[in-house]
Symmetry: C2
Subunit: 230 residues, 2 copies
DNA sequence: CGCCTGTCGGCTGTCGACACTTTGACGCTT
DNA sequence: AAGCGTCAAAGTGTCGACAGCCGACAGGCG
């Protein structure tokens, strides 16, 4: 894939306390134990995990860079609370990022990336059958992440990784993603077809259409959700 | 502007030690005392500034989020070293970000933002006359940042802020930006004209052309620079 | 009864200290 | 002479502790 010299050995997984803590924190959010807008007490978290506050702080900074947390001076970290307006902005950003990624990928030849992309669609189908909507969200995002990863521009992937948490938060908050969970898997197919054909313009148009449709559906549903709770 | 009740008092500028430290560190980089690829010893910095390592660490994390520093486990922080490939990727990202921003701005009406944009172009002209190329780079980036800020999508601005340091590093490394410093100011004008006309497609095309031209010139020059030093 | 003020608990921001890792240099072996 | 093992210095990762700040609650005044 990339032309790095020799992947002879994998790096040893160092202890990396902050990263393990960050994973726990993120899991707490996905599991619903920490809800959007809620405060994350670093002292309490440190106490419960049996570590000092320093690595917890480091982990929180990591998750802040990832977009899951936001920090307020002298008040600590809060789980990012997503609004419909935020989600709409994120979708717009995704559209222009991923359209570029798709065009690039189609231009440079997507052969090596196609299997992975197709696999994620297949996974989405299976998870839709199983009715596992949270995992389906993961598969959906994994497809789009793979697209950004394969396009050859590392910065595009970096941007995607920075908004992926916000997407996740929004999508799991909605609950069931679409009225028809199976439809979402199928709407990825035109993108794949355009990539396979090596047509940059078609690939960009396909992803624009795909994300645009999702944007409309998700933001509408989210607005309705906000109307009931707020 | 906003319909908040009473702006009687301005908020007191809290000490915010990390931010002041971050500014010093950033200044050290722009002044050339810390060069790309060089290591930033947080203990030494803390000693020299007369503070503990904790706020220095915090400041470094801030600058890492801003893209100025990168951290390596157990080895601390390093000033980001930009390559021609990196710069090319950043330019590509900028093109799709700013094209979207320009189109949005043209669509929603750019009247309120036009004076600020025009002012930056004027500043570029003046600084080109004065031969102050570092400040001209700042004015150039300020123009593009204002574009992203005015478009109404906060995430676009966030992405721009994350790559602006890499741009700065690359541009100041080149030294003289173009063969003709005056030309760069003028090439911004078509963007402004399209915005004033309220033509989204033209605005996007103008910014694509403008950044694309800069991309080619800068990356070529940077490649030549790399060939001589590496 | 409602608003403001004083107090209190908890928390973050910052600090100095210690252990482990990294790194560069020196000396030894082949 | 080149390479490996050892060692010391420097620096980061982590820890516990203290000061200042924030939010909440109770009490006083209009």
């Amino acid at each position: 894939m990339s032309d790095i010299e020799a992947p002879l050995f994998a790096p040893i997984p160092r202890d990396d306390l902050p990263q393990r803590i960050a994973r726990q924190l993120a899991d707490a959010v996905t599991a619903g134990r920490l809800r959007p807008g809620e405060r994350l007490s670093e002292s309490a978290a440190a106490r419960e995990m049996g570590v000092s506050r320093a690595p917890v702080r480091e982990a929180a900074r990591l998750l802040e860079s990832a977009g899951l947390l936001v920090s307020r001076p002298n008040r600590g970290f809060f789980v990012r609370s997503v609004s419909a307006t935020d989600l709409d902005a994120v979708y717009e950003l995704r559209i222009c990022i991923e359209a570029e990624a798709a065009a690039r990928l189609a231009r440079t030849g997507a052969a090596s990336a196609l299997p992975r992309l197709a696999a994620q669609i297949e996974r989405m189908r299976a998870l839709a059958d199983a009715g596992a909507h949270v995992e389906q969200v993961d598969a959906d995002l994994a497809f789009h992440r793979a697209l950004c990863a394969a396009c050859g521009n590392a910065r595009l992937l970096g941007v995607f990784d920075q908004i992926v948490w916000e997407m996740r938060l929004g999508l799991v908050l909605i609950g069931r993603l679409y009225d028809d969970a199976h439809l979402i898997a199928e709407t990825h197919l035109p993108v794949l077809a355009a990539l396979r054909a090596g047509d940059p313009a078609a690939a960009a148009a396909a992803i624009r259409f795909h994300i645009g449709a999702a944007r409309e559906a998700v933001v509408d549903r989210f607005r309705a959700l906000e109307g009931t709770t707020a």
